[in-house]
Symmetry: C2
Subunit: 241 residues, 2 copies
């Protein structure tokens, strides 16, 4: 299988970057190919605007989706973005690897999504979730969390980690049609010794090698919805009225 | 009152930017002061790394929180960040104004948080939520959403808008001690005519003018928690064991 691993960490010696390297090595040893996109190393620009495009469909007023539609039809994405889009189109598995910063992605990772996930490339044409353009591909978040697992539980100050990650798993990856597997979560690496870290690296290597067997998050069925709303509820609302 | 409005939209003629201008004008007419931080206009750099600092506490390995602690103690933040931190420290009300991109903030807005919300400046010292460093200030999200309100309801494909915004309202703003008022949400502006837009502008102006009377989101009480976990649940777990 062809993996693309998008990494967002400013320190190459960090736990997150080490985890990414261990994962890559394990995949390559198992005969998979891995394309590492180290966003800090390549100096990826996270700002989304006219720089995404080589030309303007409407030079007077910038509407990103309109410009994306035009660029998708004319091959008009910037060289930088086209490269990322080609990588994404060619992969079987997308791994987003990042530390949780303020309950979400670092800006450089969010910018990769904002710019690369363009209409006409990863979504569009009324096709989403189980009919999405990315159907047939797997995706997984590999996330490092500074706090403890308890702090991200029902009784923790932040609430459950899966709720925190839902906008990404469901709203971005699932929406585009990826089959999303359960995230790989590594808590409080700074408090762990070398042996515990090695165990996490080994666990991560196993998860990646057997990613097709990893539990998957629930997938929404497009046919159950009309105008982005569950059909049953619309039906009930009509009956009640 | 002193407002700071942080705006993230690449198009000055957009609905989001117009909404910001209407809000500012209304506040100024009511005698409040407003500091507009137009992130795209000032070319704010959203990437967080050593560029945040004028010097390195540890030049061999970059740990952002360690560097932030050092910079907070020595005045070592970059000029660009120190300016934003000063604005934030001086304000009574923080408004974050942005379009929802992929169920979250545009990368440029997330980068403003990643970089400006440094330990020792907006949080730290074991003080969070009702004891947080930003206690006494108000915060509000003013969010433009391309989709319909129904798509962001319990029966919509994305789920409730308040759940989507919880990482920001609760995990960022509430955590730092802001009193967070209910977000101002404007759905599907592209489908609205001039009159409907004017009504939204007027509603927004009213919301800002009377922000102290706006409903507030629930605030977590630090004293109920120990090591970031609800005390009752720890107690129950101990009893059950």
């Amino acid at each position: 299988m062809r993996f693309i691993c998008v990494l967002a960490h400013p320190e190459p010696a960090s736990f997150t970057a080490s985890l990414a390297r261990h994962g890559m090595k394990a995949l390559e040893q198992s005969g998979h190919s891995v394309d590492l996109v180290d966003l800090y190393a390549i100096g990826f620009d996270p700002i989304s605007d006219r720089r995404n495009f080589v030309a303007a469909a409407n030079p007077d007023r910038f509407d990103q989706q309109d410009e994306e539609r035009h660029a998708a039809a004319t091959g008009g994405f910037s060289t930088e973005l086209q490269l990322e889009m080609d990588r994404l189109a060619a992969c079987d598995v997308l791994v987003l690897q990042f530390p949780i910063w303020w309950l979400g992605m670092p800006a450089i990772m969010k910018g990769w999504i904002d710019r690369v996930f363009a209409i006409g490339r990863t979504y569009g044409g009324g096709r989403w979730f189980d009919r999405g353009l990315m159907r047939g591909k797997l995706a997984m978040l590999a996330v490092t969390i500074g706090g403890t697992e308890q702090a991200y539980s029902e009784c923790g100050i932040y609430g459950p980690a899966l709720d925190m990650l839902r906008p990404i798993n469901h709203g971005i990856l699932g929406f585009c049609g990826f089959d999303v597997v359960e995230p790989f979560l590594a808590y409080a690496p700074a408090r762990k010794g070398d042996q515990e870290r090695d165990e996490i690296f080994a666990e991560y290597a196993g998860r990646l090698r057997h990613i097709e067997r990893a539990p998957r998050l629930p997938m929404l069925h497009s046919d159950d919805y009309e105008h982005f709303v569950l059909k049953t509820s619309r039906h009930e609302a009509t009956r009640a009225a």
